[in-house]
């Protein structure tokens, strides 16, 4: 607004402007990093130690005795192994199916004008903000009528509900961010609507769609309550088992299983890290 009548400060080069507060400049970021690392990694580290603890009593900083016996306990349990298999089956299927039905909708939300567009887009937020505890009897009754109970596709469908928000909002933002003139240029040289979509729009949108897929995958992978109701006894997934293990087993067993359950998502983390910081998530949340 107005000019600031202050003495000339020492100017730091380039974009480090906001960090020009004296001697703390060098130390503070390191402290911040260390504190954040302790906060974020600390609980995970203690979990890893527990998974290998043969005996660990307070106040030892490390287990008094290391052991891998809990790993054999977990892997000796047949249902644990099959739950890993089912989790790895359902979550990718849900993500793919979710993309199939949601991406056309997202494209419509981004490109077409139709009555109630904003309201409909907003309504998908309710899928993730209405507490479902009282709804499961009604949902299960519906699934019974449709012969979906205890089936693979029933599990897929119940997990699909939790992915709608991500698969619609994020791609809508991505499609909206693509310059229309590119598509129009393709049309001008005679490309059909579908061809334009697959050859022009989709490649540009791909990173954003992958971000959406990632969030959808994690949401599906994490779902426990609905999966238990619809999937049991045939499809018991990892998060469903996790509730039982955390509450009813000695701590090391829960720790071992936690690590197992985290591994698939960690692979995604390595793949997706750069992708996530491209702003597609935020674009999806600007309606």
């Amino acid at each position: 607004m107005s000019a600031v009548g202050e003495a000339v400060r020492e100017r730091t080069a380039g974009l480090f402007w906001f960090w020009s507060i004296g001697a703390f400049r060098r130390v503070l970021p390191v402290l911040f990093l260390v504190a954040l690392a302790a906060f974020i990694l600390g609980p995970l580290l203690s979990l890893i130690l527990w998974a290998f603890a043969g005996q660990w009593f307070y106040p030892g900083l490390l287990p008094q005795e290391f052991s891998t016996k809990w790993w054999t306990v977990v892997f000796g349990n047949r249902s644990v192994v099959s739950s890993i298999k089912y989790s790895l089956m359902t979550a990718p299927t849900v993500t793919a199916l979710s993309a199939l039905i949601c991406l056309p909708a997202a494209y419509a939300f981004a490109r077409f004008r139709f009555p109630g567009r904003r309201l409909l887009l907003l309504s998908f937020l309710s899928a993730n903000s209405f507490p479902k505890i009282g709804l499961y009897i009604t949902i299960a009754t519906l699934f019974y009528r449709l012969n979906l109970m205890t089936t693979f596709w029933g599990v897929v469908l119940i997990q699909l509900v939790g992915t709608l928000l991500f698969m619609i909002w994020i791609p809508t933002g991505t499609f909206r961010g693509i310059n229309r003139s590119l598509e129009e240029a393709a049309r001008d040289v005679g490309a059909s609507g579908l061809r334009t979509f697959f050859q022009i729009t989709l490649p540009i949108a791909l990173p954003g769609l992958l971000v959406a897929g990632l969030f959808a995958f994690l949401a599906a992978f994490d779902e426990a309550q609905g999966t238990l109701i619809v999937g049991s006894p045939n499809y018991i997934t990892m998060p469903v088992m996790m509730y039982t293990l955390v509450l009813n087993y000695p701590q090391p067993v829960g720790a071992v299983f936690s690590i197992l359950l985290t591994l698939p998502s960690l692979v995604l983390l390595l793949l997706a890290q750069r992708l996530l910081r491209q702003g597609y998530l935020a674009a999806g949340y600007t309606l």
């Binding site: 109970m149 205890t150 992958l210």
Partner: protein, 381 residues
């Protein structure tokens, strides 16, 4: 937004490969070709192990019928399966739950929906061996059959406690004199905490008034002094009034010697001592009046897909052979009456076959837990 980045090139093939792999796996699992009988069992680890390692293999050997077990944790999981059984009934379908082992209160919840089969000696011979006055039967509105019994006992650390209390009143005294060294788990989440709560209620009201099937909300006014008493204990409870979630959490506190005394399930206490998850100084005793017992029963849905299989398993489970395994494994007492058990088992376990206090019926239990939450834990002070 169309920035280049190197990761993309190989993400796409990986994602596609993962998807193709998952699709090819879909064919693998059996869908709906459940042969035999599907059992839904809830509870703590020791129960799961007993079914997994002992009972189910024995049953399959004896009968040639394959049994499949789904294991659930008490709270969330048990409710989910109840929801599922109710939904099947409403939709006019069969349910894959052929047999449901759970807390009697959950069985009572489904009673009004008409989802349970009334089990008598006419459809299952061994029902005749079960005492119809057992708390498991009464609390479950008559639809649950007990197959194991255990009661809550007092666990204490003999290293720190030389003279354990022998009565409930002495226990209350001890708690006040040793602040921070006692706790009971949140009655929402476990039976051992409920037992402590119900004994407080029975201190001011007659147990028999609440254990039958009839319900009269006005009788609950008699509980008021009990809630006041429990509220006054709060400062003397571990961590200034912290009630852990679940039986296991209490055992862990005892194991780390952060507390010296707590009510625990007799079977769980024994199994934790066996696995050396509790120090050997921990002793288990019953006090007077005794804590309540019986946290589990079995019910069979009227619309079970393999109802005959469910009844067959339950009948087998109540034979003296299977019951001997249960009693030995859990160090509890059998679901059938003692007189039907082999003599050596009777002799071995005579000492712990002490009596227990009756449980309030399901409606009273629900209200007692709610009032405890409102007046003790949630009272502010």
């Amino acid at each position: 937004m169309s920035r280049q980045f190197p990761g993309l090139r190989w993400i796409v093939p990986v994602v596609i490969a993962a998807f193709v792999m998952s699709i090819s796996l879909v064919g693998a699992p059996a869908q709906g070709q459940v042969t035999g009988v599907t059992l839904y069992i809830s509870g703590d680890t020791n129960i799961q192990e007993m079914f997994d390692k002992d009972l189910l293999p024995m049953f399959e050997r004896d009968t040639g019928v394959k049994a499949k077990m789904v294991f659930l944790e008490h709270g969330q999981g048990a409710q989910a399966i109840l929801d599922k059984i109710i939904a099947a009934k409403r939709a006019g379908r069969q349910t894959d739950v052929d047999l449901y082992e759970t807390q009697p209160t959950f069985i009572a919840q489904g009673a009004s929906e008409g989802i349970w089969l009334k089990i008598t000696k006419d459809n299952m011979a061994n029902a005749a061996k079960v005492d119809p006055q057992r708390p498991e039967v009464l609390v479950s509105s008559g639809f649950g059959i007990p197959y194991r019994g255990s009661s809550v006992v007092l666990a204490y650390n003999a290293k720190h406690v030389k003279q354990p209390p022998k009565t409930y009143d002495a226990l209350l005294d001890w708690i006040k004199k040793n602040p921070g060294k006692f706790t009971y788990c949140d009655p929402q989440t476990c039976g051992s905490g409920q037992a402590f709560l119900y004994l407080a209620l029975y201190k001011f009201a007659k147990a028999e008034d609440y254990s039958t099937l009839s319900f009269d909300a006005s009788r609950e006014t008699a509980w008021e002094p009990a809630f006041q008493l429990l509220r006054s204990l709060k400062p003397a409870i571990y961590n200034n009034g912290f009630y852990p979630n679940g039986n296991v959490a209490v055992l862990q506190l005892l194991g780390r010697e952060t507390i010296w005394m707590a009510p625990v399930w007799s079977d769980q206490g024994m199994s934790y001592l066996d696995q050396k998850l509790l120090p050997p100084d921990i002793k288990l005793i019953q006090i007077s009046p005794p804590f309540t017992g019986g946290d589990s029963a079995i019910a069979i849905p009227v619309h079970a897909e393999h109802q005959a299989g469910g009844l067959m398993f339950l009948n087998w489970l109540l034979t003296s052979k299977a019951q001997t395994v249960v009693v030995n494994k859990l160090a509890g007492y059998p679901g059938i009456e003692w007189k039907y058990m082999p003599k050596d088992v009777r002799d071995k376990f005579a000492a712990i076959a002490t009596n227990f206090s009756p449980l309030p019926n399901a409606r009273y239990q629900a209200d007692a837990k709610r009032l405890w939450q409102e007046k003790v834990a949630g009272s502010g002070q």
